[in-house]
Symmetry: C2
């Protein structure tokens, strides 16, 4: 154990490498599977090409953005003592790894889809194995890269800024500087996530609506017909939105949660065996454990017979990874944290005790982690209830479809609004409970606990769209009934996991934002965020409004981007003779490029709001008003995210219910009935709600928080300059002076 | 002037009486006007009977509620030193006057409608005179009763609690007690407003939808056909929702604003000629002035020729009252407030200076009042822009109607979300500006300034539905083309004033809530509401969620209440033979009763949320968490109110635009075209948005704040009991000890 004690920080990236090794193994296994006959491979080849076309176009734009942002960051890093131009390097690493994780996910998803279809020709068990293994490649890739990236950079910055300062006794200010620079990694990851999630959301719905409007309505050809130039874009969109978008979102949450917990961990006075930095290392260790146990849990996901429940297999794997991680975390917490009192300090220089920050124990820290696990699980369950077929909310919308389009819409909106209640109560109880357990460090370690099994969560999430695509390929390739029956089985489970995944993503974004918020307050060096002060209250109002304008822009963008797609498809039908007679192939990649460009262009305005508003507010009105604004954004963003995602999910499943037929007041209704038409209206309204504006709320609240955290040292410098009478008052209420013990990594016990 | 100085508090209710005298004169003038021929009077008689039936049913339920609440208040008044059982008397007075004001408005509206129709047979000028005079009766009645009620009770409580304590030197604690008891008046008014606004909103839409579903769809008879038992309920609904609901809403805002400013005024240290209570008296004096100048402004509202602009006449009257009030207020502020420094104190016992509370001057106070006037005007203008025909937002929805129901809905939702941006920025700037001018007292006096001309605002608001009803009566009585042309002219202006009135109502509710919020913090005796503390942040989340569940319940309630109406209409068609042949009269009053009962039953759940949540949260988690929750409710409620009201208004006018024909991509579309059908879907979705859930946000945020203010002394008592180490810290930061000068009403200068 001595070796472990002394070299723990080096073991963190090693756990990430283990994840990547397993990922490579699984990836090569998937690639080796049979990809089926000519029609199937051609189809999946087009989708894979389209996905690459999207990534290339995205990367081109992003490279400019990353370059400009990195220069600005490098310059700003020179302006305050607590930062460094090296932050630009972190930023570039974060951006690169986030983009790379998206690439891995997209590539495996476009390979696994057709191989799942082919596997479904033999058995359900084999189809599940291929599709879920594809999902685990994504899950392990995202989590592995995040841990390697953050862990390695931490080692570098720790060595440069902290360790080499006078050997064994370490200045806490230096650790603050190391973490400030590390925040750039999270900013890079979250910026790329913005493009992936919002751009991807606009892309998938623009392609979907555009393909339908010209293909089905104008040209009179069926959905997913190969003659439609936009059909590949439509299929690419599913991967872009559901796979890459979700992956980037969770990559961002995962990194941001660890980072925020590390920043708060620096402020925990701990007499531990790691020279006082155990609370800083803990979130990364927990993430590493979660990754390892996600690999173990994934091994449980298998079925033997055709009649076995796929959902049950996924649940067993999920619970296995959660329970094993929870047990292992208990021993790690006991091992790493000291048996005596822990408490929050402002910083070791002033020693001001944070008001309301309680003393706590290592058992309290473990309690907070358990709270986080429970919150994540409950949020997923509630989301499933509000969007599942056969439950009260969806049944209500079905009933209201019988009186027309308007009542269907009213029903869905009411369900969406109602669906905010339980998740908010769970979240509030989680905040309250984790704070009770271990103060503000508890709130952020709860988020870390919840995110620990991200690899497993993401594996299950990515399995859904792979199964969905596999079903589409089976349908288009006219494979036998039994094949489609098997892929339908997987697809149905995929719909449920998509809903629960969204609940988990929102919960993680909310807790991550709160952790970042708490870290921001500490780094900005403010005592309170007092909404009794009118300017702070004004900030709260402005913050609350931002998710509304962001949603409005995202929803409108889908409309405009769909129109651009419609024009391109019309042009191809007009200018390329022979498409309709299968004699000429449509220029799929042009539609893909149009959709990509439109989506990236359309997401600039909402993206800029998220990036620039905190900077303007922070430097104009100071950190406390910015804090008020962040709180407003977070509360309003979580509410709007839940409202829109759940309304959209409920509308979708209300429409899907008509496929098997539904009973309203004793009468049966099927597809093409009047109530079904009304339900299609609801589903169309719900599309941008659940796939564009709703999920982009996650990125919005996280990105605004991480931008604030990155600029916090600059705002703090401003505060110090203008400190006058207020400073005197603060000095008087200093209750006691505390010094964090030396930051040295050598064993004591 | 000596006489004025010494007796100012007695002049306040006198100004209210002047308003009531003018109201009586105008009311008797309207009643004397010709009510037209037999068909017209019969029709309006049914509407008037229906309105009374609603009021009777409402009062029956409300009398139980008022009795129970009064007993609870009287009991709770005995439990803490700073309150008194007399608060129950205030409560009953507030409830009674609010109900009485609703009665006045409803009665005059049901008289003025038919008389406007008759007047429109001669000239537009005469029709405007009758309808606007009807509106002023409502406006003057609401404002007059509010000032008389609050002013008289203040005299009583001032005499009982403050003046007779040892003659000239007065204890500030006694003033606190007088104002605590006075808060019951505002609670009573706002509770009745909840029933009027929410119940009325459910009523009007239930009757509307119910009448349409059975009448137009099932029985195949036209809209507003006398054979439809629900048609009277439908017409009553317009008065119940738009007249009585809006009146009760503004009555509540008007009273609450004055009260909150008085509570904060007590905490302003002022060496004025009124023995230091000028800041307490000022809001009532400003309200009195605004009432007087509303009477003056109303005299400007007239036209001479058929071609004169009705909107211009209303604008001239509105601006006259605002400008005159602004000028008069300047001199009153100079006269009442001292030339030297003013500042906020915590209370005269501890003398703790509130953190962030700036010192200010009487010019600052005047500046804050001007800020309030500007905020109200801008909010009205922005609302008009987002809901007016021919402007970008509505034109966008029209264009999106061409591609179907779903895109129409998406367009309206995007417009509604976008419409929150400018009002929130105006509001935030208003909060910031008024705070800059005069601290927290500035925020509340800004609200008082904005509400000063409530009488005029409400006159213009009530004119709208009267003109609307007049047009309906003209249509149903088949009067000549020129009559309908005149009432259409008035109705079109009424649509605009309805939109601007909603903007004003939301702005007033927002500022009122903030003023109440500030008053609550003072009375509850807390130093900060620090959202950096996790429990407070949890409160913020829960508060933000409440407007969502409230809206969901209100929207769903409309659906259920409409179903109850449908069943009653079906029963009458079935059980009363001869209705369809005009041989038997339908039992209109039964439909009215059904709708009334359904609406009152359906509003219990949302109403209880508003009333009980602050009590539970306050007593369980303490005043600071309650403060966080109130902030969440206010921010989220204002956003949801703007979103829903403006989306509904925009959908409505997009639909109305088709009546004259609209051009989409070079093609003209009229009624019954496919895009028109899509616009009808949007309008139906918008109905509960703009007339039920949207406006009820106003009441929600005010009522939760006033409930919190009423329970604040009880929470403060709890704080005092548990004060320990925290109290010691507070003592140390006491910067200086201040004593408010004696509360005596005799002249010094």
């Amino acid at each position: 154990m001595d070796f472990l004690y002394n070299n723990l920080i080096y073991f963190i990236p090693i756990m990430g490498f283990i994840g990547i090794l397993f990922m490579l193994g699984k990836s090569s296994w998937v690639t080796k599977q049979d990809a089926g006959d000519g029609a199937m491979t051609e189809l999946s080849g087009h989708i894979a090409d389209g996905a690459m076309a999207f990534l290339k176009a995205e990367w081109k734009i992003l490279s400019y953005f990353v370059a400009v942002a990195a220069i600005l960051l490098a310059w700003s890093g020179t302006t305050v003592a607590t930062s460094s131009p090296v932050i630009a390097v972190s930023f570039i690493c974060g951006a690169f790894l986030s983009a790379f994780a998206g690439f891995i996910g997209m590539r495996i998803a476009t390979k696994a889809n057709v191989r799942t279809t082919q596997a479904a020709r033999t058995s359900l068990a084999q189809a599940l194995k291929v599709s879920f293994t594809g999902g685990t490649v994504m899950g392990l890739g995202v989590a592995g890269l995040a841990i390697i990236g953050l862990g390695s950079l931490f080692i570098v910055f720790y060595t440069v800024y902290v360790k080499n300062v006078a050997g064994s006794t370490v200045n806490g200010e230096d650790m603050a500087r190391a973490l400030d620079v590390l925040a750039g990694f999270s900013l890079g990851a979250e910026s790329i996530a913005l493009f992936a999630r919002v751009g991807g959301g606009i892309y998938t719905k623009a392609a979907d609506v555009g393909a339908d409007l010209v293909g089905k309505v104008e040209a009179g050809i069926p959905e997913d017909d190969v003659r439609n130039p936009a059909t590949i874009a439509d299929n690419v969109g599913d991967n872009v939105g559901d796979v890459a978008g979700m992956g980037a979102d969770l990559f961002g949450s995962y990194v941001a949660t660890m980072l925020a917990t590390m920043v708060l961990g620096r402020e925990v006075a701990s007499h531990d065996n790691f020279g006082g930095i155990a609370p800083v290392l803990l979130p990364m260790v927990i993430a590493g454990l979660g990754l390892i146990f996600s690999i173990v849990g994934a091994a449980f996901v298998k079925i033997k017979n055709e009649t076995d429940s796929v959902q049950k297999a996924l649940n067993i794997g999920n619970w296995a990874s959660i329970i094993l991680t929870a047990i292992a975390t208990y021993f790690v917490v006991q091992w790493m944290l000291p048996a005596d009192d822990l408490h929050m300090i402002r910083d070791e220089a002033s020693g001001v005790l944070k008001e309301g920050a309680s003393h706590f124990t290592r058992n309290g820290v473990y309690g907070a982690i358990v709270v986080g696990l429970v919150v994540g699980t409950l949020m997923s369950m509630i989301t499933e209830y509000y969007t599942a077929m056969g439950k009260r909310p969806v049944l209500g919308i079905i009933r209201q479809s019988s009186t027309g389009h308007a009542t269907n819409i009213i029903g869905g909106l009411a369900v969406g609004m109602e669906s905010t209640v339980l998740p908010i109560l769970v979240l509030a109880a989680g905040i309250y409970g984790s704070y009770y357990c271990a103060g503000l460090y508890g709130v952020s370690i709860a988020a870390a606990g919840m995110m620990a099994t991200t690899a497993m969560q993401l594996s299950i999430d990515a399995f859904g769209p792979i199964a969905d695509n596999a079903g589409g390929i089976a349908e288009m390739s006219r494979l036998p009934e039994e094949v489609r029956h098997r892929t339908d089985n997987l697809d149905a489970v995929g719909n449920t996991t998509a809903a629960t995944g969204k609940g988990f993503a929102i919960a993680s974004a909310a807790l991550t934002s709160l952790a970042l918020f708490a870290a921001f307050v500490g780094v900005a060096g403010i005592e309170h965020i007092d909404i009794y002060k009118a300017p702070v209250l004004a900030g709260l109002f402005v913050g609350g409004m931002i998710p509304f304008i962001f949603s409005s822009l995202a929803i409108s963008a889908v409309g405009r981007a769909a129109m651009a797609m419609v024009e391109e498809v019309r042009r191809q039908f007009r200018e390329i003779p022979g498409i309709m007679e299968y004699k000429a192939q449509p220029e799929y990649e042009k539609c893909v490029a149009i959709s990509t460009k439109a989506s990236i262009r359309e997401m600039v305005a909402p993206g800029m709001i998220a990036l620039i508003t905190p900077i303007i507010v922070g430097f104009t009105f100071g950190p406390e008003v910015l804090g008020g604004m962040l709180a407003g954004v977070t509360v309003s963003g979580v509410l709007m995210g839940l409202f829109q995602s759940n309304a959209g999910g409920a509308w979708d499943n209300a429409k899907k219910s008509f496929e098997k037929g539904v009973e309203i007041n004793g009468e049966m209704f099927y597809k093409k009935s009047e109530p079904h038409k009304a339900s299609v209206t609801g589903d169309t309204v719900g599309d941008p709600f659940k796939d564009t504006s709703g999920p982009s709320m996650n990125i919005l609240i996280k990105l605004m928080s991480i931008v604030s955290l990155v600029i916090a040292p600059h705002l703090n410098a401003n505060v110090q300059k203008s400190a006058s009478i207020d400073h005197q008052v603060k000095k008087e209420i200093r209750v006691q002076s505390m010094h964090v013990n030396a930051f040295k990594v050598d064993k004591k016990g």
